[in-house]
Symmetry: C2
């Protein structure tokens, strides 16, 4: 019993460290983020932090996984509660634009895509894997719009998903540099045009 | 005369250093790029490099300016030779998608937008200024499509420019992570749909 509690406490500390690291990495970038800042923020020593992770890279991978899991819980799973077809695509659009705004420091997955695109290795591999999975989820959501008759039968789900993702990228880009409200408004208008185009 | 030659040589060395730094920063990022690597690549000492720049930040700003100037020369000015209206917008699209492919390590301006969005200071200010100017040039190009009658008179040039930029962002994103050829093809198809939508 004591042993189990101890394990749980270790896991809880590890999860808390990953959460703090995620917040810091959104501001400093995943590559440049400071383990010293993380240790200070957690009131621990640097070696105390490393006791929970085999290496800096293990911590970075754990942070990426935490970012993906949070996106899945806060955006994808929420949208998937909506009826398949257009209601679900619209829910995904709304949740995604909100996500871009609420993540202090921006979306770590998108920032890491830019940061690691030229750095071969396990972190880049994980980023590519996560963003490929995300695109599959988006493409399936679009395919259900076609299958349910909300979009025309000759629609190309992967092409529509590409265009949808481009809008999200521009909301993120413009929002971070020029202000979120105007970017979100443009993003919603762009999605409405996309939907109107592909309706049957 | 000797003095003039000497000044020219100093300027030539500085330009060459900025060019090398631009290549390195595209791979390593503007913040993390190594002055040691730059010095080694130029066969100079670190202090030799700093003799040409007041500070690391001066060098970073010079690299950003060089990136913007190259984009202007290789994409914008080439496109501006095309007839105003749709021919010019199409030329801009073609040149931009090529630019994204040919820049080893990707577009430094876009990478820096992601890297510096949370780091207030002169570098972020320069990135915002450059990308705002770029958007103005794109919006004007679209406005000329409206003014010339190629696009419908009620078109919103800033909205169309936002959507066009989103496509470019997604070509860059997908191209860097999943491969350029497929991303460029999707980007061209997305631009054609955008153009078809806004035609009068």
């Amino acid at each position: 019993m004591a042993l189990n509690l101890s394990v749980s406490k270790g896991e809880a500390t590890r999860d808390a460290l990953v959460g703090r690291a995620h917040s810091i990495a959104r501001l400093q970038g995943l590559e440049g983020f400071s383990i010293n800042d993380l240790a200070a923020s957690a009131g621990m020593s640097k070696s105390g932090v490393f006791a929970h992770f085999g290496s800096r890279q293990d911590l970075q991978l754990a942070v990426l996984d935490a970012a993906a899991e949070r996106f899945t819980n806060e955006v994808l799973l929420v949208a998937f509660k909506a009826k398949r077809g257009l209601p679900r695509l619209r829910a995904l659009q709304a949740g995604w634009i909100d996500w871009v705004r609420h993540e202090d420091g921006g979306c770590l997955m998108l920032a890491s895509a830019s940061e690691y695109d030229d750095k071969p290795g396990p972190i880049r591999d994980r980023v590519v894997q996560q963003l490929a999975r995300l695109r599959v989820a988006l493409t399936r959501t679009v395919q259900l719009c076609i299958d349910s008759g909300d979009f025309a039968a000759d629609g190309d789900a992967a092409q529509i998903a590409f265009e949808f993702f481009g809008i999200v990228l521009c909301v993120h880009h413009d929002g971070r540099l020029f202000g979120h409200a105007a970017a979100a408004k443009r993003g919603r208008a762009a999605c409405e045009r996309l939907i109107a185009d592909y309706r049957r």
